[in-house]
Amino acid sequence: MSLETEIKFTLNGRPVAVRVPATMKTLTMLREVLGLTGTKYACGEGECGACTVKVDGKTLNSCLMHAVDCDGRELVTIEGLKTPEGMNPMQQAFVDHGAVQCGFCMPGMIMQADYLVGENPRLTREEAQRGLEGNLCRCTGYTKVLDAVASVAEKKCCGRL
């Protein structure tokens, strides 16, 4: 067993304290230590985006980040986007536009899409395409994903969200 370290951070708005091995990746910690299986493993080398989470407001591939580096930070996962009132607007838009098929890449896709619209409410379709380049999907051809993102961006831009 490798050396374990205790880390403390905020996860989906709640304080967390865990002991993790020095070699463990954030993705493994989320899935196997904390039981949050919404974040997916699909490549383990930062090429597919299925494990995208938000750390201190920025999205990154949790398969590339060591768990110990979460210490003192603020993480949001797909489970943390939903509020007691219901789905986050991006989640709802993905459902409404039929962007979800097998759905395996969707937690990462939605995290990234939500981040892009949060950063730039005037996000164009082309900017959304570029911003989602690191998120692979084998089912959808991205078309309905981009429709969903565009619908949220439009609402944000008009101040309806």
Partner: protein
Amino acid sequence: MEQKVTAASIEKKSLIGQRVKKPDAPDKATGKTRYINDMVLPQMLIGKVLFAGRPHAKIVSMDISAAERLPGVYAVLTGKDAAGLKFGFVRDNVPLKEKVLCEHDEVAAVAAETEEIALNALSLIKVEYEDLPGVFSPEVGREASAPQLRDNFPDNKSLRFEFKHGDLAAAEAASDFIADDVFRPHHVTHCCMGTSCAIADFDNNGKLTIWTQTQYPYNYKMDLAPALGITPGDIRVMQPPVGGAFGSKLDVYPYEPIAALLARKTGRPVKVIYSREDEFRASPTRQAAIIHMRTGCKRDGTLTFRTADVLLDNGAYTSWGPTIPVIMMRTTSGHYRVPVVDFKAQAIYTNNPYAGSFRGYGNVQTTYATAQQMDILADKLDMDPLAFHLKNAQKSGEITPQKSFLRECVLAECLETAAQATDYSRKRAAYAAERDKPGRYKKGIGLASSIHNAGGAKIHKSDGIGTILKVDDYARVTVITGASEIGQGIDAVINLIVSEELGVPLEHVTIVNNDSDIAPWDVGVHASRTTFIAGNGTRQAARKAKAQILKAAEKMLGEPADTLELRGGSVVRDRCGTPLIKLDRLLRQMHFQAVPELVMVTDYYEPNSEPEGADHISDHSAAYSHAVHIAEITVDTLTGEIKVDKITSAQDVGRVINRMGLEAQTEGGIAIGLGYALSENMQLEQGILRNPSFRDYKLVTAPEMPELEMHFIESNCAEGPYGAKGVSELPTIVIAPAIANALFNATGVRIFNPPLSPEKVARAIYEKQQSGK
């Protein structure tokens, strides 16, 4: 005892063709869905597989003692533990090998408390190999001088298929033009986002429960049983949500029996899960082939014959891949009105990875050839390809040489719709005129079409489905069906059909389709069959339930059943929509009367198609359909890069059922086709995969997705549910040759070995310039 009428009348509204959301989408979008990859069972061990990592070798010795001694290791299995457990199409595979025939041969497996321990244990297994000369192409493999890979397959010959129709010599003599080309469709793989995974657990009565990603749960039992030496009846197949399948889960692959063998040995549940690299190396591919095709026509553009001599790279074992000629021969002989056909295909064992089934199954490869030869012949004739296609397009009622009966055929309408939408003929002529003028960027437009089965394919004795439907005291409907959901959206289609027939809200329908001990028979998700077959099964079952309910209503309300309808959760008068009684109340009255009555019906739907038989000549599908794609591209003649600007599709869908799901399947199918055409390629060197990662195996990404314009042509299929046909494979099939034809229009070069990578395109353009043509 008519109820007092107070409510307003309920209008008749049909859901057919409307946009219905997938019922599992909210849980998937919020991370709540528990995929098989996420599952953990109490006492569960993790299984890991040791791959040979070399293409052809004898195993001289193997020492597993250090791995067995590692704390936390519960079992180490080798080829000796699987001796004689033969499985696969021709029983040429075993779960664990005693001889290495391909890179990903499974030579040992470990079950341990954690993945880390299991991986450590693998590293402690010492194997001594004696490498042997290998066979890495079917052309070399069929020579008598090649290494012989198997004792009982001389010249490495695996499966063979033939189909002849008409007088070839006469047809050749009558031809004014002949296209004669060799196409080399390549190895690609499914790239399911959820990597391969199975969890196996034996109970103490010897019954196996296996949680799997399979897309054919019932035949799966039959195929898995011999790999374990048990009977199919002792296998319970559980189907949790999966991260994609696309045909890859239409067979048993060794990791599944390995999970079960480890579970049997340890007495505990064992989960085997692949890393992405494992997935690239060890999951099935699309079948690679060498297709020598010839197509002839007369000066007036009438097709005269087509021949195809196909050599298939069988790989080391026989899964669905080498069986694709079953579909290749049908599409070779059915793509346009081809009166004379000569088809033969031979699969050759090699030491390469082996192919399974992949969306488009054989027709992707065939259409890459046929649709380009249509373009090549049109060029030889100096004829607009559109006119050439229209001249040879089949019409409703025609029968192809291989006996596909085209009951409803709207190929001409598909051609005209796509051509008109894109201004095809004018653009094609204009781009061709620009082709040899100076300028780095060239535009091109290309048309391709194909035919595919759209009402299942009776390759087994049955192509049917069982359905059990119950309606409870609260008017909630449960559909227990054999139809598997792998992301394609049959769940939304079933909900839509039940809602349409029984007038209940979509969200009041529950589907149970993930447990083979509960759900009845189905052949599986393949051959674009599920909406057609499960749609018909669901509709028949719902109509039986409806008849029972309306009969009860007649008795209670004193109004004839044939004047009543189910609408908006009530029994209404059909003509005026006046609600007479709430459905749930009626159901409770049925239940709690003197002679209680529950609504629970069963149905078996078998399509009216014919079994294939040994020669594969039959009307094997209950429907056939056509699609036309037109690709508009810009080629950078300096770098060879192709940018796809727009894809316009026109497809015979029979009838739109769930418009949102249909669009989604079409878009996703096109994306897989684009990757096949442009960038995806398994780079195999001497049987070793050199690019087992998403960094080096390039899928289509969001910025590369072109504008899509989709036209759904409704031919109203007599046998299909509400007129629908199956849809999901054609979008993948037609796209690559459309782009290849556009490349020719733009630059005058043709690529016969996909993908149309920048390197190949740039080289072809350079060579054309050098040759001065």
